[in-house]
């Protein structure tokens, strides 16, 4: 039981003061306690650097662009491949039984393990990076599409049989809408994994991109830049999730609250 009546204003005050206190604490820590710019930068320094990178030199943009391109190619490709594939696998028990061990193995393994192989095969270039993102995104989508189709309520399927719907009609009017929440949840996961994939890909011999920016800043102890990079990356992630959330709201308006994470 959550302790009852905390008014909306009290809530906002608590949140705001928490954030402000945190920022002040950070600043104090950076400027008074640590004092070593190579370890911790104060929020002001980070803001200044952010300003510099966006407005003054504009050096952020090429990196942002490079990473975004890789992400969109990999993400887009994965949707094109994984969604239909998921439907196909869901349609026959047989197909899934054969594919399952491989898919589960690929999904549960830490994605970074596959990166070196992909670099071997595709060399250091955009291709291998897109491949890494592609793989990172495909599996959550694939698995969610499959399971979305599988857990569709029995009764809906029986209803379709009563009305003698064709397979295609069954798919289009019942299975697809019913599994849409799962699919979109998978897409949401794919966003997170895809962005991680971008960063991992950029660690291996990239010369531009947000991931590269972060790693290079880390190696040169350029903490403000590092923070800026992390912030932008996080921002992308949040934006991505929000977009998918909005799509979810629009495409599946019948889901009021939604399941827990």
């Amino acid at each position: 039981m959550v302790d009852g009546r905390v008014s909306a204003t009290a809530r906002t005050i608590l949140r705001l003061s928490s954030v402000v206190a945190g920022l002040l604490g950070w600043h104090y820590l950076a400027v008074v306690v640590v004092k070593d710019g190579g370890v911790l930068a104060s929020p002001l320094e980070v803001l200044a650097r952010a300003y510099e990178m966006t407005v003054v030199t504009g050096e952020l943009y090429p990196h942002l662009f490079a990473s975004s391109m890789i992400f969109f190619y990999g993400f887009g490709l994965s949707l094109i491949v994984a969604v239909p594939l998921g439907f196909v696998l869901a349609s026959t028990r047989l197909a899934w039984d054969y594919a399952n061990p491989w898919i589960t193995a690929a999904y549960t393994a830490p994605g970074v393990a596959f990166a070196p192989i992909l670099l071997f095969w595709f060399g250091i270039g955009t291709g291998s990076k897109v491949a890494i993102v592609f793989l990172a995104c495909s599996f959550p989508v694939l698995l969610n599409v499959y399971h979305g189709m599988r857990v569709v309520n029995r009764e809906y399927v029986e209803l379709a049989r009563c009305y003698r719907l064709t397979r295609w009609a069954l798919f289009r009017h019942i299975l697809l809408p019913a599994s849409l929440p799962f699919i979109l949840a998978g897409v949401r996961l794919a966003v997170g994994r895809g962005l991680t994939g971008v960063a991992v890909a950029e660690w291996f011999g990239a010369s531009e991109g947000l991931g590269y920016l972060i790693f290079f800043a880390g190696q040169t102890l350029n903490v403000p830049t590092l923070f800026v990079g992390v912030a932008v990356f996080t921002g992308l992630g949040i934006a991505g999730f929000e977009i998918v959330r909005q799509v979810e709201k629009y495409a599946t308006p019948w889901l009021a609250g939604g399941p827990w994470k």
Binding site: V6, L14, V19, D97, P101, T108, A109, V151, W203
Partner: protein
């Protein structure tokens, strides 16, 4: 007892896949480096294990993982409980938890290395962060979702606050806590391997980098296979533990998250 068809088909698929891999690698590709055949991977694996090198790295990764994960679970449950139970704690902590959970681990690793160096402690911190977020968020959700009827039951039985927490709130939140742990495990594994990949002298992630830098593909593949095996083992282990812990929850929801 006859195994279910799903299992046999899966097993057949794996065996067939490995066999095909062997045939293709030996017959078609000339360059062994590109795709080493499973037999040579197995040989390398064996020699690594025998020499104790594999052990050394495995133990390093495992220790980092166990330490970070264990501490994070305890702290996470405590924090999650407070957040779930007391609204004001929730409001204060929420912004920070939200920020912490939306920052991808990948991007934090360089920062953690800057702060904590390339030793073991940094990896423990990575595992800690990842697990803490997952466990806290899910524990909080679990505590918040305790059925009001049970709490009213406790009140009508005049149960003390302490008893209510230990006998009702925490058991009710247990499935959520387990979910948090499950989510944490997958991500923590990724985090620790990545951290070792970037800056380390020991551990499976280090092996990944070393073998790829030296173009030793059998070794690379051996490491990858091991990591895949660990991932799979984690997955099925947690599955197995989760069910008896919460037998009343029909996991019809194929909880897919990581």
């Amino acid at each position: 007892m006859k195994p279910r068809p799903a299992f046999t088909r899966g097993a057949v698929s794996v065996v067939a896949g490995v066999a095909m891999w062997e045939i293709c690698a030996r017959a078609l590709l000339e360059n062994e480096l590109l795709i080493p055949p499973p037999t040579s991977v197995a040989r390398t694996f064996w020699s690594l294990a025998a020499s104790g090198e594999l052990n050394r790295h495995f133990v390093a990764t495992a220790t980092e993982f166990a330490l970070g994960f264990g501490v994070a679970c305890i702290v996470g449950v405590a924090l999650g409980y407070l957040m779930g139970r007391y609204r004001w704690v929730d409001e204060i902590m929420e912004p920070w938890v939200a920020v912490l959970s939306s920052v991808p681990v990948v991007t934090l690793v360089p920062l953690i290395i800057v702060w904590f160096g390339i030793g073991m402690f940094a990896k423990v911190v990575v595992v800690f962060k990842v697990t803490l977020v997952a466990v806290t968020v899910n524990t909080s959700a679990g505590i918040k979702s305790v059925d009001r009827v049970w709490l009213e039951l406790a009140r009508s039985m005049r149960m003390s606050s302490w008893h209510t927490t230990w006998k009702i709130r925490l058991p009710a939140a247990l499935p959520f806590i387990m979910t948090g742990m499950r989510l944490g495990v997958g991500r923590a594994l990724l985090g620790v391997v990545l951290a070792e990949l970037i800056a380390s002298e020991a551990g499976l992630g280090y092996l990944l980098r070393e073998s790829s830098e030296m173009w030793d593909s059998p070794k690379l593949f051996a490491t990858i296979v091991l990591l895949v095996a660990i991932g799979l083992a984690n997955f099925s282990l947690i599955r197995r533990v989760e069910q008896p812990m919460a037998p009343w929850r029909r996991t019809a929801e194929w909880s897919m998250d990581a």
